[in-house]
Symmetry: C2
Subunit: 103 residues, 2 copies
């Protein structure tokens, strides 16, 4: 299986899982009820996200608690940078401003 970040976030349900986890960690059952998906489907998507390094899990009792990885999506962010005109503009402006400040 083993998917890259791009393929991992191409699936709407997986994006929904990530968005959900962005507000805090969740166990599988919580995700299942919040996203209204079947439990096996959740487990499958979570496995993909885990293998792609986007989420991490820890075993807490019989629950498995998932959370976002600290630096998720490095490949996607690196690739998409040049296409984020607004963002690169913000970067450039920031650099300029900080430069002229320090002088």
């Amino acid at each position: 299986m083993i998917m890259d970040g791009f393929t991992a976030i191409a699936e709407p349900t997986r994006r929904a899982i990530l968005d959900c986890l962005r507000t805090g960690e969740r166990d599988v059952t919580t995700l299942v009820t919040e996203l209204r998906i079947s439990q096996p489907l959740a487990s499958k998507h979570l496995r993909v996200l885990r293998e792609a390094g986007l989420v991490e899990a820890s075993v807490r009792g019989k629950r498995r608690v998932y959370r976002l990885a600290k630096e998720p999506l490095p490949d996607v962010l690196a690739w998409i940078g040049p296409y984020a005109r607004q963002w690169s503009i913000a970067f450039d402006r920031l650099e300029h401003v900080l430069e002229s400040e320090s002088s």
Copy 2:
């Protein structure tokens, strides 16, 4: 077919096409030779990118010249923003700096 931005950039060859077009417009034949793919495959991927709004084409003689759309990937950029920690940090800093400057 009609794919969204996420699915469009999930395919490595399509990302390669976009990266290629980032340095300037190209006709199909040029893309074919630069990326070493078959011509029908190029046309198919270009169609996907066109329908997803990532590239535009203009007919120039018997050539079809493709270029990046002006604001490509709005959906992806919007979704990924909150995950781009470094970038949001840059944004925040920029806001602060500009604020304290104007006062």
